[in-house]
């Protein structure tokens, strides 16, 4: 029952929400499409929070995605013991870095009176959710060794089975609870993404790299 909920209901609900709500938000009110930076109001602690968090979580997230997109090459790459060791160590370090950042960000929200008026329920939900998610991630990385390898043989085929609308949850149902929490957390985060400030991660500034510096807009041209 729980397995069905976590591994079938949640991911499809999340998928549906991100596919339908994101464009709706984009076209209905883009005025809310912002990272809602609070650096203007508080910057000293933010430096120690936002930087470790983003620089920790982005590579970790990218590694998760890489495993899903290129399972073959990743298997080959991590088949080498040395590669696996280095990969796992870097991953764990980045994970801890992210946890540290997220912790700082949470404490910052708690302790800065100036941030009271720009902190909404969604900010707390996200902070605690992301903190929990990175903590379960670090736990899995520490106590369920070589996750980068077994992930490719369990979670990845399961995720592919989701995408082909033929969910094969037996790949993942035998894992301990902490793994299930990590998976459930991931789906909840994806589900919340279109409703919260997390949408800021859906925009990657690549146009800016190739455009000429000064942008003109003409009424008539």
């Amino acid at each position: 029952m729980l397995n069905n909920f976590i591994f079938i209901v949640l991911p499809y609900a999340a998928l549906a929400l991100i596919i339908f709500v994101t464009p709706y938000r984009y076209f209905s009110n883009r005025l809310t499409w912002s990272a809602y930076s609070t650096q203007f109001l508080e910057r000293k602690t933010l430096f120690w929070g936002a930087n470790p968090w983003h620089y920790g979580i982005i590579p970790v997230l990218a590694a998760h995605l890489l495993g899903v997109i290129f399972p073959g090459p990743m298997k080959a790459f991590l088949g080498n013991e040395f590669n696996l060791l280095v990969f796992e160590s870097i991953g764990l370090a980045l994970g801890l870095f992210a946890v540290f950042g997220c912790l700082i960000l949470t404490l910052r929200r708690v302790n800065t009176p100036l941030l009271k008026r720009v902190t909404f329920a969604s900010d707390w939900v996200l902070l605690y959710l992301l903190l929990a998610q990175s903590l379960t991630g670090v736990y899995v990385a520490t106590f369920m060794r070589w996750g980068s390898q077994w992930y490719l043989h369990t979670a990845v085929p399961y995720l592919w089975s989701l995408l082909t609308f033929n969910p094969q949850i037996e790949y993942v149902t035998d894992f301990p609870l902490v793994f299930k929490l990590h998976a459930a957390g991931a789906f909840v985060i994806v589900a919340l993404l279109p409703f919260t400030k997390l949408v800021h991660m859906l925009y990657l500034p690549f146009d800016f790299l190739k455009d000429p510096p000064i942008l003109y807009r003409w009424r008539t041209k």
Binding site: L209, I214, L215
Partner: protein, 483 residues
């Protein structure tokens, strides 16, 4: 030749009385909103002073504007690669304390306070946190009229001799009203990774597309004038929109319209967009001359032809011909860009203020040949200070303009008193009688339509969906949280 039109404002500092009426009218129209309380799209500073935000001119601190690197311009703060790496924490962004914590007073306490032996007071509270403020530490114009000069005015980066503000006998001041300069080479536009900032092709107004802005905050630090602000409520950047809903219909900007001293002129300049970058590669002291080179003569048939080809309408060409701005900036060359060495090519120009007739300190009454004004070097406001502010350090340009202003005054004074005037005075200053009379009208009695020549936009040419969507500030839709 790539001719474009730009709406430009000229400020006559000689007439600014520092009344802040411009700031108030701007505030009431545009930034009287949550998240924008601390913003003053138009503000008036006392010079010497640290300004708003404090020390905005100090680019060692805020890293705004452009620098020349070889034969190229680059943003002083960082290139595109480092921009991507600094998205999560922006190292050069001014913080709230650099402006001030916006406050209001709790007037309800005046009638709600319980009976007691003390008179109730309206206590200050923060407009951001809502908490009571024990002691207001700063405000939008904290060093007005040289208040706290030993703390603030001495920090003015334009001062050569900081002791001058401690010496009552030599002290000087003038006001500096500032809006967004709507630059030809805007650093804010170039720094935006989301490409939310843009320059309007038709009138050169620089706007933030609120739908595209993601709040990365690079513009707030890249602008060397610190005229792009971060709205802490909407999480987006906002800036002066040159009152485009007014100018589009031929009305004057709110700040210029309400100006008590009538120091402001609004009009069209035609410029050659292809020459902008080359002009900005010149050394600091040649930048003003380079600015003037970029501005084109609207009466030149070749310029008019090229302008028409670029879609500049006849109405705009006519306005460019009559433009008071063109007269002041190019014909008479009395108006100068603010800090041209920031290399954004600002399109707001300032006529430097002429010092009081009294000479400075010990050299009191050491007057020039004509016997009314002190020698230029002995003027109360040091030429070096004005040059650092308005001409990239070129003192000769400032001297030329002051000479013109003095000659003009002597000419009109002689006229008033029915005295003959030596023709050489006007001639030496590069003026003739007709020119002097025209300049006099512009400086003094010129009416609303002489001071401001603003052609309308042909908005009807625009697709109605597009027209509806274009606004440079975030108040049309709900942002987040309770209103």
């Amino acid at each position: 030749m790539n001719v474009r039109a730009q709406l430009v404002m000229v400020f006559n500092l000689d007439k600014c009385i520092g009344c802040h009426t411009c700031s108030i009218s701007c505030k009431n129209i545009w930034t009287d909103r949550k998240g924008a309380e601390y913003m003053w799209w138009n503000n008036v500073e006392t010079k010497p002073g640290v300004g708003y935000p404090q020390k905005w001119e100090n680019q060692d601190k805020f890293k705004g504007g452009w620098v020349v690197e070889g034969r190229k311009l680059r943003l002083r703060a960082m290139g595109k690669g480092p921009t991507l790496l600094n998205m999560f924490f922006q190292p050069n962004m001014p913080k709230l304390d650099d402006y001030y914590e916006p406050f209001d007073f709790d007037y309800s306490n005046l009638y709600k306070a319980p009976p007691g032996s003390d008179q109730p007071v309206a206590e200050a509270y923060s407009q951001i946190s809502g908490e009571r403020i024990e002691k207001i530490a700063s405000g939008p114009n904290w060093d007005d009229d040289l208040s706290g000069s030993q703390v603030y005015a001495v920090e003015d980066v334009n001062l050569e001799d900081r002791k001058i503000v401690e010496d009552y006998g030599r002290m000087f001041m003038h006001y500096l009203p500032r809006i967004c300069n709507h630059c030809l080479n805007p650093a804010c536009v170039a720094s935006c990774p989301s490409r939310a900032l843009y320059k309007r092709g038709e009138d050169g107004v620089v706007l933030v597309d609120q739908d595209v802005c993601k709040g990365w905050r690079f513009c707030t630090s890249a602008c060397p004038y610190k005229k792009v602000y971060f709205n802490w409520q909407s999480g987006k950047a906002e800036k002066c929109i040159f009152c485009f809903p007014r100018t589009e219909t031929g009305q004057c900007n709110a700040c210029a319209h309400s100006c008590v001293g009538r120091i402001r002129h609004v009009g069209v300049l035609l410029y050659d967009a292809d020459r902008v970058e080359a002009a900005l590669l010149k050394p600091d002291d040649q930048l003003v001359a380079a600015h003037r080179e970029v501005i084109l003569n609207p009466r030149d048939p070749q310029v008019r032809e090229a302008a028409r080809k670029n879609g500049v309408s006849d109405q705009w060409l006519e306005a460019a011909e009559k433009s008071p701005v063109y007269a002041l900036v190019k014909e008479f060359a009395v108006a100068l860009p603010l800090h041209p060495e920031f290399r954004t090519m600002p399109m707001a120009y300032y006529i430097p203020s002429l010092s009081p007739v009294i000479s400075s300190g010990a050299d009191l009454h050491e007057l020039a040949d004509h016997g009314t004004f002190p020698l230029l070097e002995k003027m109360r406001a040091p030429i070096g200070f004005l040059a650092s502010l308005l001409s990239g350090g070129n003192q000769e340009i400032i001297a030329e303009i002051l000479r013109k202003q003095i000659a003009l005054r002597l000419f009109k004074r002689a006229g008033n008193l029915g005295q003959p005037i030596e023709e050489s005075i006007l001639k030496n200053a590069g003026l003739d009688e007709a020119g002097a009379n025209r300049l006099y009208r512009l400086f003094t009695i010129g009416g609303y339509t002489e001071r401001n020549v603003i052609p309308t936009q042909q908005r009807e040419e625009l697709d109605s969906h597009q027209r509806k969507g274009a606004s440079g500030f975030g108040i049309l839709k709900k942002t987040r949280g309770p209103k």
